[in-house]
């Protein structure tokens, strides 16, 4: 499975893998605003180049999801939709979810799921036709 390192010189902060016709982006550590923007750009580029039908963003490693992170995730979902891919955010932990609603940081209409497995199910449900993956 190919991976794309966002910062070849620095530590791996987000890995973007492909799974069938889907992209799976795992955020490993907290990202600052600049890194978030870079992540957004790279992910959206890859949606185009890999012709993905769906994107799963795993934020399970994050202790905090602030309003800027929410905004970025919302934007990714909106842009991805315009390019023909559904976005599902997975792995938000109970305490993080509570903190987000307390702070009023909302993901708006973005689809969420418990974990990767659930996300793939959600994406499969949404797709009228099976995702077009590479020939196996």
């Amino acid at each position: 499975m190919p991976t794309a390192d966002l910062e070849p010189s620095g530590p791996l902060r987000v890995s973007i893998l492909t799974q069938g016709g889907y992209l799976v982006a795992s955020v490993h550590t907290a990202l600052d605003d600049g890194q978030l923007l870079r992540f957004r750009r790279d992910l959206l580029d890859q949606i185009g180049s890999r012709r993905s039908r769906g994107v799963v963003i795993d934020v399970g490693a994050l202790d905090v999801i602030d309003s800027f992170a929410c905004h970025t995730l919302r934007t990714i979902a909106e842009v991805a939709r315009l390019r023909g891919a559904e976005t599902v955010v997975v792995g938000i932990r109970p305490d993080v979810a509570l903190a987000m609603v307390e702070l009023g940081a909302s993901l708006g209409p973005v689809t969420t799921a418990l974990d990767l497995e659930e996300a793939f199910e959600v994406l499969a449900d949404r797709a009228a036709v099976p995702p077009a993956g590479p020939l196996r």
């Binding site: 938000i92 932990r93 509570l98 909302s106 969420t112 799921a113 418990l114």
Partner: protein
């Protein structure tokens, strides 16, 4: 305080002398153990204390407390007594023994012993004074220790009960794969609402739930902060990938919510629990069919 030096030394000296009297005192109390203990037991009986316990129980506790009491006077250390008092409290609290009874019996013992000292030293008033000087601080410390241990133990029991009540009060139940129900019964205060959300979010994770039905038929009243919290619970559950259906909103509560202007547009509500479960099953792709219909 400077300047008080000499009198401090004097006082210290006198205290030491008084402390010397303690062994004599202890010997006296040991010698008259049976009589004094019986006197104490009968005083307890007269005062109608420890009525929840049988006379045999009272007698055996009285014996141990007496010996512990004298032991403290002898060693000056209340540690052992504290342990004993905790243990005793643990045994008698479930029997419904009250704080005033425990303090009452300790003070009675203090008085019974003090009277026996009056009796013994009444011819030598000066000596009696010094004996009391030695006895009183120790006796007071014992009373404080026993009462303190009892209250601590009671508080511990109360805390424990509160914890278990809290857990009992909000069961999160799985009715089908991926479907949880959360029946809420009783008054929802902010504390409980908070705890409930926490429990629900963890249950969503552990049961891998996709739909949650929160039934509030049993909630008599919802104020603004609780309604607000419900909305937050719905949002937080959604962030974890689970949809929430609220059922059992009484007409009063529904009117209150509308009047106070809580934003319920994001809430999926269904009239009753049955309807809620049916809706949840539909969302999850279940279809419940009567067995005889299915056979046809």
């Amino acid at each position: 305080m400077a300047g008080d030096g000499p009198s401090d030394v004097e006082e210290h000296h006198r205290h030491e002398e008084d402390a010397m009297l303690l062994p004599e005192l202890v010997a006296h109390l040991r010698e008259h153990r049976t009589v004094l203990r019986e006197e104490w037991a009968s005083r307890i009986n007269e005062a109608h204390l420890l009525s929840a316990m049988t006379p045999q129980e009272v007698f055996s506790e009285v014996t141990s407390v007496y010996d512990n009491y004298v032991g403290v006077l002898e060693t000056g250390s209340v540690d052992e007594l504290r342990d004993y008092a905790r243990d005793l409290s643990e045994r008698i609290i479930p029997r419904g023994v009250e704080t005033h009874e425990v303090i009452g019996i300790v003070l009675l013992l203090r008085d019974v012993l003090a009277r026996s000292l009056f009796e013994k030293y009444r011819d030598d008033f000066d000596l009696l004074n010094r004996v009391l000087n030695a006895y009183e601080p120790a006796a007071n410390r014992i009373a404080t220790t026993v009462a303190g241990s009892f209250v601590e133990e009671r508080e511990r029991v109360i805390r424990q009960q509160q914890d278990s009540l809290r857990e009992l009060s909000t069961p999160v139940l799985q009715v089908r794969e991926r479907l949880l129900i959360l029946p809420i019964i009783g008054v929802l205060d902010t504390d409980r609402a908070h705890q409930l959300t926490d429990q629900l979010l963890h249950a969503i994770r552990s049961h891998r739930a996709r739909v949650v039905v929160i039934d509030i038929t049993g909630v008599p009243d919802v104020d603004e902060s609780v309604a607000d919290h419900l909305v937050k619970t719905v949002d937080a559950s959604r962030l974890m990938g689970a949809g929430v259906i609220i059922t059992g909103l009484s007409s009063e509560i529904a009117q209150t919510l509308v009047t106070i202007g809580v934003d319920l547009s994001k809430m999926n509500t269904v009239g009753d629990l049955q309807g809620g479960i049916e809706e949840a099953e539909r969302l999850l792709g279940f279809r419940v069919v009567r067995a005889d219909d299915a056979d046809r």
